[in-house]
Amino acid sequence: MRGYACDEAENADQALAKLESSPSDLVIMDINMPGRQGNEVLPDIAERFPETAVIMASGVNDNKIIAQCIKDGAQDYINKPFRFEQILTSVNWTLDKRRVALEIQRYFQDMGKNPVSRLNPGNYFSGQSRAS
Protein backbone atom coordinates (compact mmCIF):
# COMPACT_ATOMS: atom_id res chain seq x y z
CA MET A 1 0.00 0.00 0.00
CA ARG A 2 1.23 3.48 -0.75
CA GLY A 3 1.62 6.00 2.04
CA TYR A 4 -0.08 9.35 2.31
CA ALA A 5 1.32 12.77 3.06
CA CYS A 6 0.21 13.58 6.62
CA ASP A 7 -0.11 16.81 8.54
CA GLU A 8 -1.34 17.34 12.08
CA ALA A 9 -3.44 19.89 13.95
CA GLU A 10 -3.92 19.99 17.71
CA ASN A 11 -7.43 21.40 17.69
CA ALA A 12 -10.30 22.61 15.51
CA ASP A 13 -9.06 26.18 15.09
CA GLN A 14 -5.61 25.02 14.05
CA ALA A 15 -7.22 22.55 11.61
CA LEU A 16 -9.25 25.33 9.96
CA ALA A 17 -6.15 27.54 9.72
CA LYS A 18 -4.14 24.72 8.13
CA LEU A 19 -6.92 23.93 5.65
CA GLU A 20 -7.05 27.62 4.75
CA SER A 21 -3.32 27.86 4.07
CA SER A 22 -2.80 24.41 2.55
CA PRO A 23 -5.85 22.34 1.58
CA SER A 24 -5.94 18.63 2.43
CA ASP A 25 -7.72 15.89 0.52
CA LEU A 26 -8.95 14.22 3.71
CA VAL A 27 -9.36 15.19 7.35
CA ILE A 28 -9.45 12.56 10.08
CA MET A 29 -10.82 14.18 13.21
CA ASP A 30 -11.65 13.18 16.76
CA ILE A 31 -14.84 14.37 18.46
CA ASN A 32 -13.50 15.10 21.94
CA MET A 33 -10.86 17.75 21.45
CA PRO A 34 -9.53 20.72 23.38
CA GLY A 35 -11.64 23.76 22.48
CA ARG A 36 -14.35 23.19 19.88
CA GLN A 37 -15.57 19.61 19.56
CA GLY A 38 -14.99 17.78 16.28
CA ASN A 39 -18.71 17.39 15.59
CA GLU A 40 -19.17 21.16 16.10
CA VAL A 41 -16.51 22.11 13.58
CA LEU A 42 -17.47 19.42 11.01
CA PRO A 43 -20.24 21.53 9.34
CA ASP A 44 -17.77 24.43 9.01
CA ILE A 45 -15.22 22.24 7.25
CA ALA A 46 -17.88 20.74 4.95
CA GLU A 47 -19.12 24.21 3.98
CA ARG A 48 -15.81 26.04 3.68
CA PHE A 49 -13.79 23.20 2.13
CA PRO A 50 -16.25 21.19 0.02
CA GLU A 51 -13.49 19.29 -1.78
CA THR A 52 -12.05 17.97 1.48
CA ALA A 53 -13.44 14.64 2.69
CA VAL A 54 -13.82 14.05 6.44
CA ILE A 55 -13.66 10.87 8.50
CA MET A 56 -14.58 11.10 12.17
CA ALA A 57 -12.53 8.85 14.46
CA SER A 58 -13.67 8.73 18.04
CA GLY A 59 -14.37 6.69 21.14
CA VAL A 60 -17.83 8.27 21.28
CA ASN A 61 -20.29 5.50 20.51
CA ASP A 62 -23.60 7.36 20.44
CA ASN A 63 -25.73 6.50 17.40
CA LYS A 64 -27.36 9.95 17.32
CA ILE A 65 -23.98 11.68 17.22
CA ILE A 66 -22.69 9.28 14.57
CA ALA A 67 -25.79 9.84 12.39
CA GLN A 68 -25.51 13.61 12.78
CA CYS A 69 -21.85 13.53 11.75
CA ILE A 70 -22.79 11.67 8.55
CA LYS A 71 -25.60 14.17 7.89
CA ASP A 72 -23.17 17.03 8.46
CA GLY A 73 -20.80 15.75 5.79
CA ALA A 74 -18.56 13.06 7.31
CA GLN A 75 -17.94 10.17 4.92
CA ASP A 76 -17.26 7.64 7.65
CA TYR A 77 -17.11 7.20 11.39
CA ILE A 78 -14.44 4.97 12.91
CA ASN A 79 -14.71 3.82 16.50
CA LYS A 80 -11.70 3.73 18.80
CA PRO A 81 -9.80 1.64 19.62
CA PHE A 82 -8.62 1.60 16.01
CA ARG A 83 -8.09 -1.47 13.93
CA PHE A 84 -5.42 -0.80 11.32
CA GLU A 85 -7.27 -2.62 8.56
CA GLN A 86 -10.44 -0.65 9.28
CA ILE A 87 -8.64 2.69 9.09
CA LEU A 88 -6.84 1.87 5.87
CA THR A 89 -9.98 0.50 4.25
CA SER A 90 -11.96 3.59 5.23
CA VAL A 91 -9.25 6.00 4.06
CA ASN A 92 -8.73 4.24 0.72
CA TRP A 93 -12.47 3.96 0.07
CA THR A 94 -13.15 7.58 1.02
CA LEU A 95 -10.34 8.94 -1.16
CA ASP A 96 -11.43 6.72 -4.08
CA LYS A 97 -14.98 8.12 -3.84
CA ARG A 98 -13.67 11.65 -3.58
CA ARG A 99 -11.52 11.18 -6.70
CA VAL A 100 -14.52 9.92 -8.69
CA ALA A 101 -16.77 12.74 -7.43
CA LEU A 102 -14.19 15.35 -8.45
CA GLU A 103 -13.77 13.74 -11.88
CA ILE A 104 -17.55 13.88 -12.43
CA GLN A 105 -17.61 17.49 -11.30
CA ARG A 106 -14.79 18.42 -13.71
CA TYR A 107 -16.51 16.54 -16.54
CA PHE A 108 -19.72 18.53 -16.15
CA GLN A 109 -17.79 21.79 -15.80
CA ASP A 110 -15.93 21.00 -19.02
CA MET A 111 -19.29 20.39 -20.70
CA GLY A 112 -20.30 23.87 -19.60
CA LYS A 113 -23.01 22.57 -17.32
CA ASN A 114 -23.34 24.26 -14.03
CA PRO A 115 -25.53 22.21 -11.67
CA VAL A 116 -22.77 19.85 -10.68
CA SER A 117 -20.45 22.74 -9.93
CA ARG A 118 -22.50 23.00 -6.74
CA LEU A 119 -21.85 19.38 -5.91
CA ASN A 120 -20.00 18.85 -2.71
CA PRO A 121 -17.95 15.72 -3.35
CA GLY A 122 -17.86 15.24 0.37
CA ASN A 123 -21.61 14.76 0.44
CA TYR A 124 -22.11 12.06 -2.15
CA PHE A 125 -23.89 9.89 0.41
CA SER A 126 -26.72 12.35 0.75
CA GLY A 127 -26.46 13.86 -2.71
CA GLN A 128 -26.98 17.25 -1.11
CA SER A 129 -24.90 20.32 -1.64
CA ARG A 130 -23.66 22.41 1.24
CA ALA A 131 -22.14 24.98 -1.08
CA SER A 132 -25.43 26.46 -2.26
Binding site: G3, Y4, E8, L19, D30, G38, F84
Partner: protein, 32 residues
Protein backbone atom coordinates in the same frame (compact mmCIF):
# COMPACT_ATOMS: atom_id res chain seq x y z
CA UNK B 1 3.18 9.54 -14.80
CA UNK B 2 3.61 9.99 -11.07
CA UNK B 3 0.43 10.44 -9.05
CA UNK B 4 1.02 12.95 -6.25
CA UNK B 5 0.44 11.68 -2.73
CA UNK B 6 -2.91 12.66 -1.31
CA UNK B 7 -2.69 14.74 1.83
CA UNK B 8 -4.40 13.84 5.09
CA UNK B 9 -4.83 16.25 7.99
CA UNK B 10 -5.03 14.48 11.38
CA UNK B 11 -6.81 16.54 14.01
CA UNK B 12 -6.09 15.73 17.66
CA UNK B 13 -5.28 12.16 16.89
CA UNK B 14 -2.84 9.48 17.84
CA UNK B 15 0.74 9.57 16.64
CA UNK B 16 0.51 5.93 15.59
CA UNK B 17 -2.14 6.87 13.05
CA UNK B 18 0.28 9.20 11.30
CA UNK B 19 2.86 6.43 11.04
CA UNK B 20 0.32 4.01 9.66
CA UNK B 21 -1.03 6.38 7.04
CA UNK B 22 2.26 7.94 5.97
CA UNK B 23 4.20 4.69 5.71
CA UNK B 24 1.49 2.28 4.73
CA UNK B 25 0.05 -0.99 5.82
CA UNK B 26 3.33 -2.93 5.94
CA UNK B 27 4.64 -0.44 8.50
CA UNK B 28 1.52 -1.04 10.59
CA UNK B 29 2.17 -4.75 10.53
CA UNK B 30 5.74 -4.19 11.71
CA UNK B 31 4.43 -2.19 14.67
CA UNK B 32 2.25 -5.02 15.91
Amino acid sequence: MTIPKEKILLVDDEEALRGILSKGFNYARLCL
